[in-house]
């Protein structure tokens, strides 16, 4: 999480009932012929947020963004920007700017003119435009490239021109459609931090569309995970990761072990998952209690599972299996462990010792265990 630490505390306007959202989607649906791209969606986004819409392609995230920009109109429901319905406002009159996935830099204009393009069509006096353009060039470190055409600069520089151009008019809201998709991995990491820095300095509300969960986790103050036109979960990155509310979210973000079973509540109301005859039920935490007997999934992250040759004492959740595969990733290794019943668990361990001194290898029988609160029980 990379949010500004406000003097009064953590930046979390969504927890403050007095805070008014800048954007409100109210039961918005969008149909294209028979296809429903957005299905009865309600969502609030707050000022100065860095909000990520995350999901696989075709989940409706881009449609949602295009409705904010004004290129699509909702079929049902309303979108409010600062409490005003924006359905009737054409894109060129919205205080919203967009950074396109392809960057959409005008090939016939140089960098300076690309950035000035929007300003020339705003109420800004002509004499003030050069100063504003220079300011944007400085912000994005493009001063040296002002006279170049888009095809004369590198991919990373193009990305910054696109950002500068969409920020030049100081929009209330900036939309970023897969802004880093065209960059290679290393450049992408650097640019993520640059984006966050610029967002903080300009105080603009950013809405980013991405299919890259790592990117969303890095930059966003909150993430909305989408699937088939619906929002599955909206929360801060840490909560999305630690307490997903659905198998879909747990599976989409990071790596996860999933076990299917039936819910059991003991005398104190502690939930556990029965997952087969003769096996010790798995204990985990649960956000919304459900009646016993409900079909549930137990989800636990590989890095929360410990691996060892000896059976540990005083743990409830413990299974034994054979090492099927080891994926060595340098700093960590992922072990694929097959239980006698056939399920495969993934466990991660840091390689604090050199590889030759590892105490277990392929075909070894090992124990896996995790704490009572490490995993989460999900009803959907």
């Amino acid at each position: 999480m990379a949010q500004t630490q406000h003097p009064q505390g953590v930046f979390a306007p969504w927890d403050d009932p007095a805070e008014k959202p800048i954007i409100r989607f109210q039961s918005v649906s969008k149909h294209f012929g028979d296809f429903t791209a957005i299905d009865d969606l309600t969502l609030d986004i707050y000022s100065r947020e860095f909000f990520a819409l995350l999901g696989p392609s075709g989940c409706g995230k881009t449609t949602l963004m295009r409705m904010l920009a004004g290129f699509e109109a909702p079929s049902e429901g309303t979108i409010l920007l600062d409490d005003k319905d924006i359905a009737a406002v054409p894109p060129n009159q919205r205080a919203v700017n967009m950074m396109f996935q392809s960057y959409a830099l005008f090939p016939h204009l140089n960098v300076h003119d690309n950035i000035a393009f929007g300003l020339k069509r705003s109420s800004m006096p002509k004499t003030e435009i050069p100063a504003r353009v220079d300011e944007m060039l400085r912000l994005t470190r493009l001063e040296k490239f002002a006279k170049r055409k888009p095809h004369q600069i590198s991919g990373g520089q193009r990305q910054r021109v696109a950002l500068a151009r969409s920020l030049a008019k100081a929009p209330k809201l900036l939309l970023l459609d897969e802004p880093l998709g065209a960059l290679d991995k290393k450049l992408r990491n650097d640019t993520q931090f640059e984006l966050m820095d610029i967002q903080e300095r300009t105080g603009t509300t950013f809405v980013i569309v991405t299919h890259d969960q790592e990117e969303a986790m890095t930059v966003a103050s909150r993430i909305a995970v989408m699937d088939e036109g619906r929002i599955v979960q909206v929360d801060t990155p840490d909560r999305i990761y630690e307490t997903p509310n659905a198998v879909y979210v747990a599976d989409f973000i990071g790596d996860v072990n999933l076990v299917h079973g039936k819910l059991h509540n003991d005398d104190q109301g502690r939930p556990s998952v029965h997952w087969g005859e003769g096996r010790t039920p798995i204990v985990g935490s649960m956000m919304d209690p459900a009646p016993a007997g409900t079909e549930v999934h137990f989800a636990v992250r590989p890095e929360k599972i410990n691996i060892g040759t000896e059976r540990p004492r005083d743990v409830t959740n413990c299974v034994r299996g054979k090492i099927l595969d080891i994926a060595y990733l340098g700093n960590i290794s992922t072990y694929h462990v097959e239980l006698p019943s056939g399920e495969v668990f993934k466990a991660q361990a840091t390689n604090s010792r050199r590889i030759a001194r590892r105490s277990f290898t392929w075909e070894d029988t090992v124990w896996l265990w995790w704490s009572d609160t490490a995993g989460i029980i999900l009803t959907r």
């Binding site: 920009a69 004004g70 290129f71 054409p90 894109p91 060129n92 009159q93 919203v96 700017n97 967009m98 396109f100 996935q101 392809s102 959409a104 005008f106 090939p107 016939h108 393009f117 929007g118 069509r121 705003s122 170049r148 055409k149 095809h151 004369q152 600069i153 590198s154 151009r165 969409s166 008019k169």
Partner: protein
């Protein structure tokens, strides 16, 4: 095979280009013939060029042809560009199939039919035939060629460029003129050139739609040529071939120069 020509390819190309160019070369050489006989060389002379420029009828016809070609290609470019835009951007509308049919039909329609139908139409509405009717006729069939050229460019046009312009505060009109048009300009210009050439070249449609007052150069050439070859026509042909050659070569050199410059700039940018 990027090194050199194989003997087979070299032979077929040589024969092919000799076949394509020799007739025109002979035509040009004999425009400088002293004799009226176009097939027997009798010494070098430029007298047929002189006679050509004395010939009022040819000069008038040339002027009419240029006027018709200029206006019809200009109208055709405007209409054809709009039509291409409609075809690529407007999605579905009532009668879209008919519309695209009407765009493509004139491309394959024999000229005799186009000419006949337009003539019968002008007669039916009682319109006097002359330069105006030729311009209308040429505009109609050229706009289809223009729209094919422009729509193939528009189809590969990144639509988000227009959306970006709208997003940055352009009206749709402004977005078209300040973003779309400058980018598709090369296609629009080649559409105009194509329309201009088609109009310059056209004999059949012009013959049907013209009136007694306006004769175009192809009509003039056709009626002269029907009686047999003549050195004056050779001279006229040479001038026309020369102009086209200069035009095409310089256009191609210009575009190659542009590509080379762009490549150089790109190399520069990567430093």
């Amino acid at each position: 095979m990027t090194g050199r020509f194989s003997w087979f390819n070299a032979t077929s190309l040589t024969f092919g280009f000799v076949f394509l160019y020799l007739p025109m070369l002979i035509l040009i050489i004999f425009s400088f013939n002293e004799s009226r006989l176009v097939t027997v060389w009798a010494g070098f002379s430029t007298k047929w060029y002189g006679e050509l420029f004395q010939n009022e009828a040819f000069l008038d016809a040339a002027w009419v042809t240029l006027k018709v070609a200029f206006w019809s290609s200009t109208f055709a470019t405007v209409l054809g560009t709009i039509a291409a835009y409609v075809m690529v951007r407007s999605g579905r509308f009532l009668g879209r199939t008919l519309f695209s049919g009407m765009i493509y039909a004139p491309l394959v329609m024999p000229e005799v039919i186009t000419g006949l139908s337009l003539l019968l139409f002008f007669i039916a509405i009682g319109m006097d035939r002359g330069a105006t009717t030729i311009i209308l006729a040429h505009t109609t069939f050229s706009m289809c060629y223009v729209s094919v050229v422009v729509s193939s460019r528009l189809a590969s046009f990144d639509r988000s460029l227009e959306e970006a312009a709208l997003d940055l505060g352009c009206t749709p009109f402004d977005a078209f003129f300040s973003v779309t048009l400058p980018i598709i300009a090369p296609a629009v210009i080649s559409g105009w050139l194509l329309a201009f050439t088609l109009s310059l070249d056209d004999l059949v449609i012009a013959s049907f739609t013209t009136g007694p007052s306006s004769t175009t150069l192809p009509i003039k050439i056709f009626s002269a040529v029907r009686l047999g070859v003549s050195p004056e026509i050779n001279a006229l042909s040479t001038i026309m071939i020369g102009l086209v050659t200069i035009g095409v070569i310089s256009a191609s050199l210009a575009s190659r120069g542009l590509i080379a410059r762009r490549e150089k700039e790109e190399r520069l940018a990567q430093k």
